[in-house]
């Protein structure tokens, strides 16, 4: 295994490709992203997405934020060669909802809001509340890890360039046409 600090910078592009692929998958095949064991029902892009284009000596950042914001500017950025560097995700299971930001370069989960848990009113309530929180956080972490696992398996396969990238390109093209 490479030195960790060297590897962090060298493979940052994988994190950005992961989030770009994630957007494509959410739009085309969401269920494949959800581990059947996790009992999650749906996932979609929330109120923020950040794209960066550092190709051809550009250093362009496009941030789209706001509930209900359209992603047209993001598609244009993809056409210019940008990749997704941060994404806000919403995951649903029945009445329960998880919202969090995922950062490509670190795979850090930020601003995770998990479903409401019972109030802690006495010291005796703490252990139960903590275990419930861990269970809820685990859903978001496992979802991220499962999706990344799907991505990396595909990324190292011979089909990546021949099939997946072609499909993503076609999807961008179609999304740009509206």
């Amino acid at each position: 295994m490479l030195d960790v600090s060297v590897a962090y910078n060298r493979y940052t592009f994988l994190g950005h490709e992961f989030l770009t692929w994630l957007w494509y998958m959410i739009e085309t095949d969401t269920q494949k992203l959800l581990d059947p064991k996790a009992e999650l029902e749906d996932m979609y892009i929330g109120n923020r997405i950040v794209l960066e284009n550092s190709s051809h000596n550009r250093d362009e950042v496009v941030t789209i934020k706001g509930d209900g914001a359209g992603l047209e500017e993001g598609v244009i950025a993809l056409q210019k060669g940008a990749k997704v560097t941060e994404i806000n995700l919403v995951v649903k299971a029945g009445e329960n909802e998880w919202r969090f930001n995922l950062k490509g370069e670190s795979l850090n989960i930020g601003g995770l809001k998990s479903p409401e848990t019972g109030r802690v009113e006495s010291a005796e309530d703490v252990e139960g509340a903590v275990l419930e929180k861990i269970y809820l956080y685990e859903k978001a972490v496992d979802l991220t890890n499962y999706a990344y696992q799907q991505f990396i398996k595909s990324r190292v396969s011979p089909e990546w360039e021949q099939v997946v990238v072609k499909n993503i390109s076609r999807w961008i093209s179609q999304a740009a046409k509206g």
Partner: protein, 208 residues
């Protein structure tokens, strides 16, 4: 950032190594020996140590109070003092003026000024209370997984250093490369292929 907060950030780690001796006893002793040390009324400007998740200002690891089911939960506490430059400057000028008056000289040597500055800062740190910051961590020892509920670079570095010193175990931060190598179940061939990857171009022009 706390386990019970309404919003958290999570940095994932893989824990490398095992604790050979009596697990709970070793963990309790290690946490106690590396617990946060109060620096109020002390000249130090920073203190880093472990504290209890439930009582961050009174670290107590007795009775395995950090065990929650199969998880260990405790907190990294970083206490810091920060003096605004203008306050240092004011007290330095006052101290220099006093020294000049006492010594009946018109100027001080550079080394003397530097010594006075060190002394001024030391005294100010003694008088200034430290600002505490707590960051919870959740450690699933059996699964070798640790979640640090913070994504700040400096706090993550403090965690990695103190954890290694405390438990003689190393933490490997999970990011795209380490996740692929350690947690995705890739074969050796796939891992080799992964190391040779270069960025893909996703958009290849208009499609019919």
């Amino acid at each position: 950032m706390g386990v019970l907060s309404s919003s958290v950030s999570i940095t994932q780690y893989r824990v490398e190594g095992t604790i050979e001796d009596s697990f709970l006893e070793t963990v309790t002793d290690s946490l106690t020996n590396n617990a946060i040390r109060e620096i109020d009324n002390e000249p130090e400007d920073k203190s880093v140590g472990w504290t209890s998740f439930e009582s961050p200002f009174k670290p107590d690891f007795s009775g395995s109070s950090y065990m929650f089911g199969t998880h260990l939960i405790f907190s990294l506490r970083i206490d810091k003092k920060s003096i605004p430059a203008k306050i240092i400057n004011k007290h330095l000028k006052m101290a220099i003026a006093k020294r000049l008056e006492q010594s009946e000289r018109e100027a001080l040597h550079r080394n003397e000024k530097s010594e006075i500055k060190d002394e001024v800062i030391r005294r100010l740190f003694m008088r200034m209370p430290a600002t505490p910051n707590m960051y919870d961590l959740i450690w699933n020892y059996e699964e070798k997984i640790l979640w640090f509920l913070c994504s700040q670079k400096a706090a993550n570095e403090e965690l990695e250093t103190l954890f290694s010193k405390t438990f003689k175990l190393s933490l490997i931060r999970i990011f795209p490369y380490t996740a692929a190598q350690l947690t995705c179940g890739l074969t050796d061939l796939e891992k080799d292929n992964m190391e040779k990857l270069s960025p893909s171009t996703f958009y290849r022009g208009q499609h019919a």
